[in-house]
Subunit: 666 residues, 3 copies
């Protein structure tokens, strides 16, 4: 923890962005430092994609420019989150070793000319990457600007590699995992479709089988890919730890959350980093990103995390990339802080003049410092500078926990399922939203976690359920907890083999029901419910002790249970045999919360206002955010001080649309 | 015929499914046999994908487990439809011979890990397959369980192979077909786009030419692919015939009908087998599958055929896979029997615990025998057991015949046509549906068949027309027949070369018209007709003796003929210059039927009720199916006995929704 | 110019089509010549795809059949536009040299079996092509039928090649362009994503990088591809010029306009050729093709050009290919003449019996000369024959010019932009349409042209702006011109590097504004304007001297300027910060025209009537076209003679729907 404390001491709530001065004439750096000061920048990420700039030819290094950048940063009082620079191999390397390129499932290689086109299992890549990281670490160990190591970039934000090198590594990984090919055959159910292996040597990546891959094979390949990337990370991290034992190390998880098993990774990060890119054209952008932030906050048990990247305005990689509406940059930045972030960082400091991301917004736009955007970025920097104390404040445990399990996610979206419309993030968002809208905080937990401290546990589509998870969740209810589980949970074991004995076998007793058959809905169709409508899915439920609290009213299951409740042990378990529409979901969750005794962070919150709490050394901060289109009056339980304005609102606080307040009570 | 009679004697209307006990611990087989008895199972398909299980390493065989399965079946009185197991080559074989993998048109190989990934022209594959089939045949020749051979599985239900081995085989096939490269150049019209070959050695598969392939080239590749698959079948069949001359041999045609020329294949099957997978989410599932069943019944002139696979509930390979609504499994099974099936078989007996098809429903679901589904499967088995006499009953010749020609189908859907919306199955369904809805039976015939026994012949989109077909159809009308032909028929010869002299040249005299130009409609657009509307297509018709019975009323052809009738010789020929909407099509076909004297199977059938007849030894069975949502009263021409209930309804029969009756009159 | 004058003298307004007699038995040629005479055919394109027919084996030539074709044409008084036949390499060549096949970005080769599957950088292809062209030129030099050379076919109407041969050629092209790899790195901004090259040897085509290619890399590849194709053209052209110095040389630009930089190509063509395929199912087909014709007319400064291909009726390469409605073939043919065409040619003379384009309509359809289509083609030929004098008449300079720049077009549609909905043709059409509808003629000009002669200059999405272009446009306004510029113009330099200093930096002074941020709209969304609505795009404009003439009324920019006007120097510059809907665009352009003093070709034109002028030797022709669905009365400023009817309408002219008049005033 000391490493991170030192960082916090130095940068407070870190503010800044990716800093790529090598894209500019050196004289621009003078202006950069001046503007950083003006904008309150305390931390910048340096060198993310600088491999070709520091090692322009094999083994030939040019650190001079970077030395001067680091010196200037140190001189200007800006800390450096220094990259190991290994995310984008330079042309000289891929020219000499085309076998290190990522190969897609269809056998075509990702061509150089973009980024992150390396095979994570490639020994050539790994050797060159670690060699570079060592050079960088050695050179900047002890440099006064160095405050944090940034390993690689967004591991997993690429197409998984299916090359022959990966195939060989996958075989070793399988041999480690299963010991014998008989075990592998059993785990993968290879008796089906004559897939029995006589030797590990016969196993290939799930490239493009027809009509589709063995799902267990695909699932293990996702695990393998996460592990191979983790091995890349660890190789660099160990090197860094050895050279600079006191400098904390992190990497930035990619926005989509999905590629790597973050429960496995988080213990190896000194602090969790995350890149968030909510889409301004998506009306649900804020609630969706709130879920991501809850994940980040939970990965290390409520410890602060770093928002390593976001866009000041538009991104450039969607088909249509709108700028953020006025005030959204500030509001959404504070939203990250509300959810536990100790850093508000942007990609990037100065907008590129050329290259693939020149239309990605930046703190200093193409128009320069006289732009509205730079003005807003500076104002935000000043605000964050005013709450230095908040840095290090942890998020208190919430009353509600939501289960997230990466192998289950991967398996859920595997081939040949009842419906391609059942995707994990949709399920998680649909359960998270009614809590978010009600002003209720939510932690995210492992499937086999000790849940005894929570009043309510939400389990969206836990398709893959280990025995440990089944036991943990059952015990939780038995001992008095309230649990909500959505359909298609408890279906398979960790090898994607069905839990026999009636769906969902591991939870039948707890839920008091069994499911006879699945009736997924046609595309974009809905089914009537006693109150409201269901989407995506329906299924035939046979009650075995549970009571129906809502029924299907249309379709082939009209009259059958759609939502059930079961008293089990000292607790109760709710089950959703469909995905209710958002309004119905909200009413249902209100009812469940009522039953579980879960209340909002603050009582009486107006619609659209979000509040989250952080705590440190006896202080408590309420970050209050008005996401609504109207001004709102927020009732306050006690007098507090608004750290941004210095005001001390009593009774209630008025917030304009997109308004923010940071209230402190001691 | 003796071979098949013996099978019928043994199993009656065969009932059962694919039986894959190797996916389970051996002790499960005891329960299997007990449940099969409970469910009335008489026949199971064994070993479809067991290659890797019986030959786990090259040339090393393990038949012990299968011996015990076969013995148990024999002991339990269940007959075995034993597979040659050649549909899915095991990993050891593809690892040693990757050159035997199917290669897609884009040059990428289908990766092992699924099934049916073999190149049918591969000598390696063929040798190994026949070697395996011989081993299996030799071992189980004379085994008391063995009742029927199941060669491979769903030939053609894969992407056609475009590899270099296929290329060489294609060249040999072409040399056989054309003799000289000059003949080939002429047949393929290679003077266009400078495609003239100077030698067969220059010919490649139609891989991915730009902007598109020579259609004659593509058409011959479809013929070649069907022939290569047939050669695979015949090699196995000949072996089986040699070793077990008394055991009938079949294979199961894939659901889509399209891949192989079934007229060419059917003479080589002792009994036709078919896999049917109507989609419960498709409101037209039952009428569509009725067309497939009519094809199967017609392939061997009204002989009974085997429904080798269907799903008890949901499948798993569509994007969204709904379970069948209650009662549909029973209703649709009887529908197959009504259309001449002597088997009602499912994929599969016991639902897989793992692998790619674990969410495909089965007779014994994951929930075990206490499920509703197993109960319904058992009830159906008992019903089928009650009508053993029906086995072997043939379907009487219908009054109506529909022309189906595989090369025409393939050519119709070739590259660079007036409209990609003109697809054969849509055309066939649109013509079959008004007959189905009216309770009229329909046979399916070759394009060059002797049609003199039919009152009405329907010709949907017979794009490719040989001289023989043109003569047969013309003679049919001339001699007094009534014929309905839809647009874009009679366009090309068997080499996809236009019949010159005004469309549709071979039928101008018969139809009394010529077509000036095609005006296909925009996507999803329709065009007004005198009564109703047209879809997909319109065209400018110039009458040459025919009379217009409907006109276009909108669009560039407003006022021009849309439907015509022509008295020709002693008969009459109708022509559809568009595809009328279903309601208009029904009215039109009612009128045509009236003219041709074609009446329903039973008079006065209520909407939604389907009846089909089977006959044997002086007995006649009426299988009566209520597909409608309401109960229906079916008027009966004479007293009959309901074989399922034992009742003897007089005057009329009441059928609940999804109700079935099997009435026998002697 | 003499070369072309001689051609005109011989063929008048050339009429005819692609003539491929090698697809037919030789005796058909007798009928061909007879029918050509009947149809008034004066010019036919011969041998476009005849490589395999004249060189059936390597180095073995068969010109006998072609000699007889040419002789017959000469005998029949039909001139030959003779192809060099190099567009589709024969099977023997690709079999021997598969390395000459086009390779797609994904690494797969275009398979032989179509056409134009050659890599333009392939030395093998080039040598064989020039060798063939030389043979053809030598043989037919001086042949009386030879009137025009047709090099290759539709250069660029293929997928750009990404093979290794192309890669090497691209490196040479880059070395020529940039001299040193440092310059390349600077131009391509390779500091981003670690793309710095240490040597030209490391550069590859932009095959399929992830997540996307460097846009400057992609842009240079488009330039390279255009240049390589031009090199192919020039190699053949130089050979032809050497052998037949007096015969004019052309090639036909492909319909899409986009593939090659026609400003670079046009000086090398003795006359511009173009293939136009308006879609009869597209209600905007006529105005869209009018823009293409304006481009063609402008490429060589108002000189007549040749419509080398169009379809008499339907084409065959769209998903749905409708025939032209009655009268459209005539109307659209005259539309080309109105816009300056001296040829009305079809693909093709006689409809193919087989092969990939057999459903492409032709002058002699499958139904032969008794068809309606041949009758209409003959009537059109007679009409064109009646206006021989018109051949060679130039199009007077219009009052309005629209800027078109190919590199800007390619760059605009490059990777990772604010919105994929911003496409050049849509932008050009949206600006061209209100002029077209108002009866106003429009020239097309280079971005750096001298514009002083124009009253109004329209600049749709000039994303890439060179300093020269910026200066030319600015000077134009300064000196009194009126200019309309649409959003996302002036953004980058010729290396796709942003012009810094506030968008659009090169035009800020001229426009009197800067753009803070881009707010592209969601798919198919619109935004309210003071009057009407905007589509595709919105952006935040800060006025710096300009006045707002319309505002956004909805969305995040409500109240901000949407359309502005700025008096600058002696002129004025309008700016569109969105793409107004067509009705609003029309009103806006009417207002701008009013301000600029731009009037229609003829005053008082009824809705739907188009008029264009051609002039020669003191004569002036008004080609009047009624595109509307109703008859129209066109007021005439003076008495004129209708060259088609011989009538001399006074005061006004009545035109039926799809009616055409060619009025001459001397």
């Amino acid at each position: 923890m000391n490493r991170i404390d030192a960082l916090r001491e130095r940068v407070g709530i870190a503010y800044g962005g990716d800093y790529n001065p090598e894209q500019w004439p050196e004289e621009v750096q003078e202006e950069d430092l001046r503007l950083m000061k003006e904008a309150g920048v305390s931390l910048v990420s340096v060198g993310i994609f600088s491999w070709a700039s520091v090692e322009p030819r094999p083994g030939e290094y040019d650190f001079g420019w970077l030395d001067r950048v680091m010196d200037r940063l140190a001189g200007g009082g800006v800390a450096a989150c220094l990259a190991t620079m290994t995310a984008s191999p330079p042309p000289w390397l891929t020219t000499r070793h085309p076998e290190m390129l990522t190969v897609r499932a269809d056998g075509s290689a990702i061509s150089p000319g973009g980024r992150q086109h390396y095979c994570p299992s490639s020994p050539v890549y790994r050797e060159h990457a670690v060699r570079l990281a060592e050079r960088v670490a050695t050179r900047y160990a002890g440099h006064p600007a160095l405050a944090l190591w940034h390993v690689n970039n967004e591991y997993g934000n690429v197409i998984p590699c299916h090359c022959d090198v990966s195939a060989a590594a996958f075989r070793r990984w399988l041999a480690d995992r299963y010991g014998s090919v008989e075990e592998l055959n059993d785990a993968w159910s290879t008796r089906f479709w004559a897939q029995g292996y006589s030797s590990f040597e016969e196993v290939l990546p799930p490239r493009s089988p027809a009509p589709f891959a063995n799902p267990a094979h695909a699932l293990d390949y996702a695990r393998f890919t996460s592990d191979e990337l983790l091995a890349c990370y660890l190789a660099e991290k160990e090197l860094l730890r050895r050279v600079t034992p006191d400098v904390p190390v992190t990497t930035n998880f990619p926005p989509s959350l999905r590629p790597v098993d973050q429960w496995e990774w988080a213990p190896h990060l000194d602090v969790v980093g995350y890149d968030a890119y909510p889409d301004p054209l998506d009306a649900d952008a804020a609630p969706k990103v709130a879920f991501s932030y809850d994940v980040m906050r939970s990965l290390r048990g409520g410890q602060p995390w770093l928002l390593m990247e976001q866009a000041p305005g538009a991104v450039n990689w969607r088909p249509r990339n709108a700028a953020k509406p006025r005030g959204a940059m500030r509001l959404w930045s504070w939203q990250a802080v509300a959810h536990g972030a100790d850093a508000v960082m942007f990609f990037q400091w100065r907008q590129s003049r050329g290259g693939a991301e020149k239309f990605h917004s930046a703190m200093v736009p193409h128009g320069g410092p006289s732009t509205r955007l730079f003005g807003e970025a500076s104002a935000l920097g000043r605000e964050l500078g005013a709450v230095r104390d908040l840095a290090g404040a942890e998020s208190p445990r919430a009353d509600v926990a939501m289960v997230l399990d990466w192998p289950s996610w991967w398996a859920l979206e595997g081939p040949a399922h009842p419906s391609t419309d059942v995707r994990f993030l949709d399920a998680a968002w649909s359960c998270h939203r009614p809590l978010y809208d009600a002003g209720v905080a939510c932690d995210v937990v492992r499937a086999d976690a000790d849940l005894s401290a929570y009043r309510l546990v939400v389990v969206p589509n836990l398709y893959l359920t280990s025995d440990e998870a089944a036991r943990a969740l059952t015990r939780y209810v038995e001992e008095g907890g309230t649990l909500v589980m959505s359909f298609f949970s408890g279906i398979v074991d960790p090898y994607d083999r069905v839990h026999l004995g009636g769906y969902p076998a591991p939870f039948r007793a707890m839920l008091g029901l069994t499911v006879e058959e699945f009736h997924p809905l046609a595309e974009d169709a809905s089914v009537g419910l006693t109150d409201g409508s269901g989407t995506v899915w329906s299924e035939e439920v046979r009650l075995e002790g549970a009571e129906a609290v809502a029924h299907f009213t249309t379709g082939p299951l009209a009259g059958e249970p759609a939502v059930t409740r079961h008293r089990f042990g000292r607790g109760e378990a709710w089950y959703l045999a469909t995905r209710p529409d958002p309004r119905t979901m909200r009413a249902l969750f209100d009812r469940v919360r009522d039953s579980a005794g879960v209340t909002p962070v603050l009582p009486g919150l107006p619609e659209g206002v979000q509040v989250r709490i952080r705590e440190k050394d006896g202080s408590r901060w309420y970050v209050v955010l008005n996401h609504g289109a109207e001004a709102a009056d927020v009732p306050l339980p006690a007098p507090m001080r608004d750290e941004l304005t210095g005001a001390a609102p009593a009774g209630s606080l008025r917030l304009e649309p997109r308004g923010v307040a940071v209230l402190r009570s001691s």
